[in-house]
Symmetry: C2
Subunit: 93 residues, 2 copies
């Protein structure tokens, strides 16, 4: 079964975010003076196979820990949904 | 009134995404062989003031067009929500 995960990797609160600060400064200098905090992060969408939902959750959690996020400075959250493929539809339930 | 916008900037479909491809290759070489497409994008959370919801929507749409996304290669989508502050609570309705 095919799964689609949306993984959001953000810096932990309290860790300096120079990219976000730069965007904030740029927005204020464009005239949006009330912009205060800007935090920037990454959003990755990953498509992969797993037998069932618990296997998919385990796989994506492991991917986050092993590669996608640096646990010292970053926090990863993810959403998972099943992707319907033609093959799934062809299999009688 | 204070608003919090979550802006997602992603490359348009069809535009090559070398960062996503690299992440996909790395995941496959770590043993997740079924990982196929990986698309990477940015997620920014921006806090700003606006009088009402329509003013807030107009402001964030303008920020996306003017600074946050390159309309030739990127697509910006956003979610907006009101942020309750102490000042709002102090004003009787």
């Amino acid at each position: 079964m095919r799964w689609l995960a949306e993984v959001h990797v953000a810096l932990r609160p309290g860790i300096a975010d120079p990219e976000g600060q730069t965007i904030g400064t740029a927005l204020r200098s464009l005239g949006y003076e009330t912009v205060s905090e800007v935090r920037s992060g990454k959003l990755m969408s990953i498509s992969f196979d797993a037998d069932d939902e618990s296997a998919a959750k385990a796989a994506i959690g492991e991917m986050c820990r092993r590669l996608l996020a640096n646990p010292v400075m970053e926090m990863a959250t993810w959403e998972l949904r099943a992707e319907l493929t033609d093959a799934d539809e062809a299999i009688p339930a």
